[in-house]
Symmetry: C2
Subunit: 368 residues, 2 copies
Amino acid sequence: MSEHNIRVPVKDLVDFMIVALSKMGVPPEDARIIADVLITADLWGVRSHGVAHLKMYHERIKIGLQLPVTKWKIVKDTPTTAVIDGGYGMGMVVGTHAMRLAIQKAKKLGLGAVAVRNSSHYGVAGYYPLMAVKEGLVGLSVTNAHPSTAPTFGTKPMLGTNPIAVATPTDEAFPYMYDASTSVIPRGKIEVAARANKPIPEGWVINEQGTAVTESITIISEMNKGNVALLPLGGMGELMGGHKGYGLSTFVEIFSAAFQNGAYLSMLHDTDHDGKTQFLRIGHFFLAINVEHFIPLEDFKYITGNMMRELRSSRKAADQPRIYTAGEKEYFNTKRNQADGVEITPGVQKALQVLRKELDITGNDLGF
Amino acid sequence: MSEHNIRVPVKDLVDFMIVALSKMGVPPEDARIIADVLITADLWGVRSHGVAHLKMYHERIKIGLQLPVTKWKIVKDTPTTAVIDGGYGMGMVVGTHAMRLAIQKAKKLGLGAVAVRNSSHYGVAGYYPLMAVKEGLVGLSVTNAHPSTAPTFGTKPMLGTNPIAVATPTDEAFPYMYDASTSVIPRGKIEVAARANKPIPEGWVINEQGTAVTESITIISEMNKGNVALLPLGGMGELMGGHKGYGLSTFVEIFSAAFQNGAYLSMLHDTDHDGKTQFLRIGHFFLAINVEHFIPLEDFKYITGNMMRELRSSRKAADQPRIYTAGEKEYFNTKRNQADGVEITPGVQKALQVLRKELDITGNDLGF
């Protein structure tokens, strides 16, 4: 183990993930799917959602929040829509099959939408729209999550971080790819601050009274008790548009749960009213749009590419070297990480060592 | 004319709007459609987008930014999708026909999406998803607009206020109805401050260097020159999620323009490079989703209604009497305004008097 970040070759990391997942009871084909979602996050530089999550999934399987074998099934099917039951399995497996189905439908009829019930954490939301982009389509996905965010004028964690992810083809080397929580920040940012023993900025989290709190370590422990909550995008009250983030988060909650008769808000706690562990029952929604049913794909790509170039080359603020477009940072991080390996922090190195021991993994040395 | 707000009965206001629009050259059936969109905004209490906009549409027709007769046509049609050319006509007319078409398609096949080119300002974005809700469907609409918002780390107005509107049925007296710009505030809020000669809060608008500016009257004049810009939802930089508002605004720009091979960003200025007036070429996107293709509508309504109730009854901040859900304020405003009449400010009274004179409207006394 190293005191510093070390870089691990992508292939080694993927192989390790597949072995670890298999040892957790995940079938080989599913393990490959999950590893692909996780490594995508690591390649983008979204460390919170990559290999670092392996241990969380292991814990959840152990205590019975989700199952390692994903017995998903289609419970409703029409030419453009479907509802899938995830069987309390692995979110990435259900998510990948659901998005594939939406893409198939969109290829035939122009549009495809699939709602998923009884799933679990599905990794980075942006992975699924990108599946559509790889096939020349536009993709969208949203998911609900464990309650963490307060409604405007409220203080109780009611909504999840509820990300919206959309991706579209462009004529550039990388697509437009938007993937962000509708809370002001994702939970992971507080964990990063807590590990560094640093306060968080005012405007991210509030306490039971609705007052801003900044002590990251206290926040982490209080959040699980429901005593503090993330603010929605736009922050406190309505002055800076907090009601917009709240409204968008509600949109995500509706799309994730109501199309599949599923669980939402407080039903997404990992224990029931009696404190008994229950299956997670996370819901997702996937939409694929076939560009060719509107205009030729090449025209679409030219327009979106041009938009990105026009935005990036517009006038910069005095202290800013450049303007980015959504998906650009992820693209450049991926190039770098593919070449040099994925950076693994000392904290994650430690967690993976524990996991290696717990799962009795003897090969697959990661170099730490 | 009154020095104060006065309330005008809804019917009188609608009749006046229809007469005024007819005098502008709008055909009677189209005038009724437009008046319905405008009165909806007034009923919601979104004064900026109601009868107050009549004068703006008149100016735009006069100088040739848009045409009073809307010769829209379907230029591409598939079972689930369509592209409509708005013929530089009235946005509400094109928008209403486009959403109707999306609804028709969704009723048959589950999903319907329509992209619109060569349109103009279409009023409140939320009107269109509500058309879907009235038919028991879920609706979504986005539109691009005149450049006013800077990308994160930029300072030039590149993107419009680019609203996202989504509405879904519930089992309550009113639906979930979200309709908000992806900029931190809509432009109208600055106009309100300017009329009252009040500064705006820091965090809404930046100047060419990227510094916050608050002088509302200066901002209005500088905005049209491109010297100041609205910030995206989430504000300046990335600390409070400004890149999220920027990314969502880009999503709206793509959906509004790229599916219909249309105009975007700087192409949406009302003058060309030589300063010559040009047609507006605004684009919209409409999506309708047939709930019954997923689960029974009654189940969907029960879930969304329950969500709204759970959110509203959750723990309130110390100084807050209540929590709202999206669409609730609009519902209660509508009830009040239907009963008591729509409040017309002295400024709008004056504008309508001018319009009455210009259009030589002799009847339709509005009581001021």
